[in-house]
Symmetry: C2
Subunit: 135 residues, 2 copies
């Protein structure tokens, strides 16, 4: 799709790529190391994804969690995928399905701010660091 950010991911953004999906840093991370697992095709919800692509995605989630626990030293990880077609398109709601992997720790900002974390745009430096670390 021409106007979809997740259909037009630049090579320099990619942490890893598999047959059916890519992993990229979240542009507005909830916590340090927040990544997205994104199918290459423009699906809107899990029910639209063919089984073999879904297997590839869940294996990629497993692989990324392994790396996040080991290389990022994440104490915990939240997996989230929100299908909310009723929300107007915005920077926080993309139609193209994506799976969040969010590093969590005791007393992190998500707890401190009761979920209302201010999501600042990731810096180029941090993005490169994350791609190097997890790629």
């Amino acid at each position: 799709m021409k106007d979809c950010v997740f259909c037009n991911i630049g090579k320099e953004e990619i942490i890893i790529k598999t047959k059916y999906c890519v992993v990229i840093p979240d542009k507005y991370p909830v916590s340090k190391g927040h990544v997205l697992v994104v199918p290459k095709k423009h699906y809107k919800k899990i029910t639209q994804i063919p089984d073999k692509e879904l297997f590839d995605i869940i294996k990629t989630i497993k692989l990324m969690e392994k790396r996040m626990l080991k290389k990022l030293k994440s104490e915990g990880i939240d997996l989230r995928q929100n299908y909310r077609p009723f929300i107007p398109e915005s920077r926080l709601r993309k139609e193209h399905i994506h799976f969040h992997l969010i590093p969590r720790s005791f007393n992190d900002l998500v707890y401190k701010k009761k979920g209302n974390v201010e999501r600042k745009e990731i810096s180029e430096k941090e993005k490169k660091w994350l791609i190097g670390l997890l790629g």
Copy 2:
């Protein structure tokens, strides 16, 4: 595990059962129709689940989302799986991994209460209704 609620799920709680997982109503639903997809074995995190069991789980999530969209008329669905080993065990943190499927809609309580929804125990009547509807 003897003391684990998810290792000891009663037959009368089960919505559907596959080779490697079961689906049950959440005991303290965030919204009406909130269910859990739970592997039969006592894993703590995604990285511990063998691929073939993980495929079964993601296919079951896909199947349940289909039913929730059709039979529950969910406008949206959130998928969540939280690995937070640093939190003390409580009614809201179970060690045995489980995947939440939470029906969402415009102006639901999660939005109104900014995530701080009071989670009341599901009634027997509502549990039976949900098992009948999605089973």
